[in-house]
């Protein structure tokens, strides 16, 4: 047996076991590789190895025209494609000084909220699968198909919405479609209430999630956590409430926060947000303004972009998503597009969270952060390995800097 005190030091004890998880792994549908170093069952260090999904999107955006980029940035991430497109399109609108009409703004919010519902349901289903509750996974996925149907009615495709365009949206909805979406949302509501009850009461879930992967307020802000992981730790950040972009200034909603800071709280924040989103969707459908055509003619969009820059934020499902777009006024292509996705902050900076929990908790903690590798990896390096050789950073990082 080894000396137990060894684990207290940052340096990896010789007896640790290295357990690689991924990149091809049945539980993770995305190519990420976690190198977990365990001392017995206890995790002493985690390296997040990525790079399998880097597609060089920022450079690709510089090489394509402003309008072609709308469809390229939609494909940064399939799950949050509407918010990506919305954020980029709003940056272009800031540069061009174009404002869409109110109906277009409401429809944009509707498409983004539908996306939030399906994304949160997906990650909750995956969480159910990971804790070993396969039936719940199948149930949630079955109900999620309803949302996908609503998305299909609204945008014309189940996943890739391609719904945003400069100055409005790309297709309008009529009364028949409105009623159909409303019906779906009303059907969904009791199901979500049921799942909330399951997550609140089921012993399997409570035992696996409560007190696992705790982060406190201070760590959440110093490590730049955004979205549900931050809100579950009591940090009230929500760009929908602070930036009030699109129609969020007119649609009533609450920012959900919890104070527990563990994996369970993160999942519950997501469920509460699903409920909020359903309410918002119903509000939008019954209060849809009638101020003209929300669909601009794509043949008559401005061709010339003045020089300028814009920095837009949007509350994606996983947190704050930011775009920085710069136009030099000379060419048809943007000079610089910088994308910072929420998973980038949440996953890259998360390595400190796993330490001290058992090996079986690693997938739970990772899932509770809602990893979106394709988002994160358009431009990412994470390398904690080098640091440990120099014996500095891990503890230092986790303690929140020098103090």
């Amino acid at each position: 047996m080894y000396d137990m005190s060894v684990t207290k030091i940052v340096e990896i004890p010789v007896v640790t076991t290295e357990v690689p998880i991924g990149p091809q792994h049945p539980a993770l549908h995305e190519p990420v590789m976690l190198k977990v170093y365990a001392d017995g069952e206890e995790v002493v260090r985690v390296d997040v190895n990525t790079g399998y999904n880097h597609r060089g999107i920022e450079k690709l955006c510089e090489k394509n025209t402003f309008y072609r980029d709308i469809f390229i940035v939609s494909r940064v991430c399939g799950i949050c494609n509407a918010v990506h497109a919305n954020c980029y399109v709003r940056a272009l609108e800031q540069i061009l000084d174009v404002t869409p009409n109110r109906r277009a703004k409401f429809l944009r919010v509707l498409s983004m909220e539908l996306e939030r519902i399906h994304s949160h349901m997906l990650i909750n289903a995956v969480m159910a699968e990971i804790v070993g509750f396969e039936t719940l996974f199948m149930q949630i996925m079955l109900d999620r198909e309803k949302v996908m149907k609503a998305k299909e009615i609204l945008t014309g495709n189940r996943v890739s919405a391609d719904f945003m365009i400069v100055g409005g949206v790309r297709r309008d909805i009529d009364d028949v479609k409105k009623e159909k979406i409303k019906e779906i949302l009303l059907k969904l509501k009791p199901r979500v209430e049921y799942y909330v009850k399951v997550f609140e009461e089921d012993e399997t879930i409570l035992k696996r999630l409560i007190d696992v992967g705790k982060i406190n307020y201070r760590d959440a802000t110093s490590h730049s956590f955004v979205g549900p992981p931050a809100r579950a730790s009591g940090v009230r950040i929500d760009s929908r409430a602070s930036d009030k972009y699109d129609a969020y200034d007119e649609i009533p909603f609450n920012v959900v926060t919890r104070n527990e800071g563990d994996s369970w709280a993160r999942m519950m924040v997501r469920w509460s947000e699903v409920m909020e989103s359903i309410e918002m969707g119903l509000y939008i459908l019954s209060n849809l303004p009638l101020d003209g055509n929300p669909v601009p003619d794509e043949r008559r969009l401005p061709r010339k972009f003045p020089p300028g820059e814009a920095f837009t934020r949007v509350e994606a499902q996983r947190g704050e998503l930011t775009y920085y777009v710069m136009s030099d006024g000379k060419s048809q292509n943007p000079y610089r597009v910088k994308i910072r996705t929420p998973s980038f902050n949440n996953i890259v900076n998360s390595a400190f969270m796993y330490v001290g929990y058992s090996l079986a908790d690693v997938p739970v903690i990772l899932t509770s952060l809602d990893p979106c590798i394709s988002c994160m990896e358009r431009v990412t390096v994470i390398d904690l390995e080098k640091g440990t050789r120099e014996r500095i950073p891990f503890k230092q990082l986790s303690s929140g800097g020098k103090r």
Binding site: Q94, T221, T322, M326, K338, V348, K386
Partner: protein, 149 residues
């Protein structure tokens, strides 16, 4: 400490002020002041008072400069401010803030690998982890305008 005080604190370092669309306050500072700003922010407001949203580097080839933007969100008001600094294009070096703000890890690593801005004091910087190996071996930074990729 309310938002106006925090803003005044950052303003003390500013050479120039501006506005980035939509309504983000922009402060242009000297490269050596970036670290001081974060030090004083942490000292005055604590980690609870702000978070670093992102770091953006832009290669300004015509002006022979690299601009580096730090986007900070002040809490609890959630106001985004921008701290911008200009570095020489040949040898862009700036002090790392990773030991004060751990959340800078992601942004600094990314900016180094793609644009070649060196953050002095960051032990995690590494080439070729994320860019394809052959680019890293040729010492090409993909986001440079003359990288030719």
């Amino acid at each position: 400490m309310d938002a106006t005080e925090k803003l005044r604190l950052v303003e003390g370092f500013a050479l120039e002020k501006g506005v980035l669309k939509p309504n983000r306050k922009l402060f242009i500072v000297k490269p050596e002041d970036v670290r001081k700003i974060f030090e004083s922010l942490v000292e005055k407001t604590g980690y609870e008072g702000f978070y670093l949203s992102t770091i953006t580097g832009t290669d300004l080839k015509d002006e022979n400069k690299v601009s580096l933007d730090y986007y900070i969100v002040l809490l609890p008001e959630e106001e985004t401010i921008v701290i911008r600094t200009y570095l020489p294009r040949e040898n862009p070096v700036v002090e790392s803030i990773i030991d004060i703000v751990p959340g800078a890890l992601a942004g600094e690593c990314e900016t180094y690998d793609l644009l070649g801005v060196l953050f002095r004091g960051n032990p995690f910087l590494k080439r070729g982890f994320f860019t394809p190996t052959e680019l890293a071996e040729k010492n090409v930074y993909p986001l440079r305008k003359d990288s030719g990729v």
